[in-house]
Amino acid sequence: MTTLHDRPRTAPVAQPDPRPSIAQRYAAQARARNWRADGLEFVGWVSMAVSVALFLADGGAAQFGTISDAFSSVGILAGLTSTNALLLMLLLAARIPVIDATLGQPRATSLHAKLGQWVVIGLVIHTMFLIAGYAMSASATWLAQFLYFWGATADFGWAVLGMVLFLVISFTSVAAARKKLPYEVWHAIHLASYVAVGASIPHMFSMSGLFATNAAARWYWIVLLALTGLALLVFRLGIPLLSTLDSRLTVSRVTQVTPDVINIEVTGRRVADLGARAGQYFHWRFLAPGLWWHQHPFSISAAPTANTLRITVRNLGKGTAALMNVRPGTLVAIEGPYGTFSDAARTTPEVVMIGAGVGIAPIRALLEETAIIPGRAAVVLRASRPEELYLLHEITELCRRRGAALITLVGPRARIDLQGTTRWVPQHQANLSLTQIAPYLAEADVFVCGPDGFTDAVIADLKGHGVPDSRIHEERFVW
């Protein structure tokens, strides 16, 4: 049985074929992950049904008799389902280990964003329909009804504040707006979500008939809100704080890779207990003047050892520029490990790893740890210039030792027609196909890490070659 850490010095000769046992292990791993994914999906959807069912159990079905009642009931239902979806969003953002290990950060984030759109639409419907419903039954105008609520209870004012914040948060998170905002600004606005949720809670329990009078419904929602809050506290604050305090990581060595790329090695206690897998990432905060206020997500660029982690950092601008001068001895705060860009994502014995720029770093780590069958594994490194093939020496050595093919593609992007359409491969290899590099591509797990445009282009190419989504594993440099 081959274990993860077997590193044969020479290519195995006349040894039993490792393929069947690896295939079995990865197939079982993929099955388990699929079950977990189905389980999470199930819980998510059924929780939506429960939120509606509690309304029906409270006699909600009878509340559609008149137009005004029907409006109010639609408003109530929109409020209930949006609240449930909002809690699911918070859970997706809580970095709960089972969610991170099953969906992975890219999918969890895109689901969070997708749900976000529905939540905001739902909350707008909730507000409009309830005001309209009540206004209709009182033959009042919307404005009069709004002011009436405003005067009747302070909780309504808080709810309005929550609604306004939710609108601001959603507008700033729309892709187009988000690209124009500096990360810190966007993040500060996004943090207001907690205020928005908090401000909306009082009116749920005072103004809503369902929460206030139906004990079963009230307790259900109290428990749900409390558990969500607890998950956020534990996984976003508690565990990172404990990991940081327990491991006491400090920068132990900084080495220059190229003029604008450095390796940072951090050492601490019980680093292995963090459970990091090669290829995963942490959020790093270097506790030095001018650095401590900025947190960066960096993948580890080597398999973790008993007491060290290593990252490879490229100077990409303001935040990372300051990092270039980080000194040994600097204390480090971490959150993580996160991500599914590791051996845990494998589903089959064949593997192709494609990296560009500093996206080479997690691939370097993965190459060290994941199972490789000589002749059925390839590493593809892409760069504009030869010096951007970071960690090339280490990767060459690892590929030789482990029996993976190494292909480097260097040069500007290929233009394939007069319209300026480009391919992700270099100009002088414009017609290169991934199947020439890895004839087993359609059966392989493919790991892709690099800038957004590169990653998108490679994924489109892979899909064109019939690689299913379940075997494409990506990591992006996004926040």
Partner: protein, 175 residues
């Protein structure tokens, strides 16, 4: 989403929704049957089932402009039982879909001699039902000398909040 999870989600959601529907409709019938006539004062908690079910859903009517309704406190003596608290006690404010109710109870040697209630109403149309329910509840509570009184037909939410607040006032009085 796999076929497996789609099927499971559909079946479970349908089950959950059907259960909710079933509970909702069953409860609707019970409420309708166990309503008491608004004017009857009962000493026991037994609700008299009436043959004609009355609806608990408020109907659309002309708007009332009253926002708050307060019953005028009257003093009515009640046969005093064993020794108990004497004084005025205000309960916690209880909320419901239509507004809030805060009940203040006056006790003499542990017996309820007077009850007054302050109600805020979110929705103008329900002021009518609240105004109707408060005097009824008051006389029922004084007659029963407890929070064990029946629902006021057409004012289920108000009754529930009224009795919750009353009970909290009685708890404060230590009875």
């Amino acid at each position: 989403m796999s076929t497996r999870s789609k099927t499971a989600v559909l079946l479970a959601s349908a089950g959950v929704l059907a259960a909710g529907w079933q509970i909702g409709t069953a409860q609707g019938q019970t409420t309708a049957l166990s309503t008491d006539t608004a004017t009857t004062t009962t000493e026991t908690t037994t609700a008299t089932p009436t043959a004609t079910p009355t609806t608990t859903t408020p109907t659309t009517t002309a708007p009332t402009t009253t926002a708050t309704a307060e019953t005028t406190p009257t003093t009515s003596a009640s046969a005093s039982t064993s020794g108990g608290a004497t004084g005025t006690f205000t309960g916690a404010t209880a909320s419901n879909r239509f507004g809030t109710v805060t009940v203040t109870v006056t006790l003499k040697a542990g017996s309820i001699t007077d009850v007054s209630a302050k109600a805020t109403i979110y929705e103008q149309k329900s002021a009518r039902y609240v105004n109707m329910a408060l005097p009824t509840l008051k006389s029922e509570v004084i007659a029963a000398d407890s929070a064990d009184v029946s629902n006021v037909s057409g004012a289920t939410y108000t009754t529930s909040s009224y009795l919750t607040s009353l009970q909290s006032a009685l708890d404060k009085a230590g009875r």
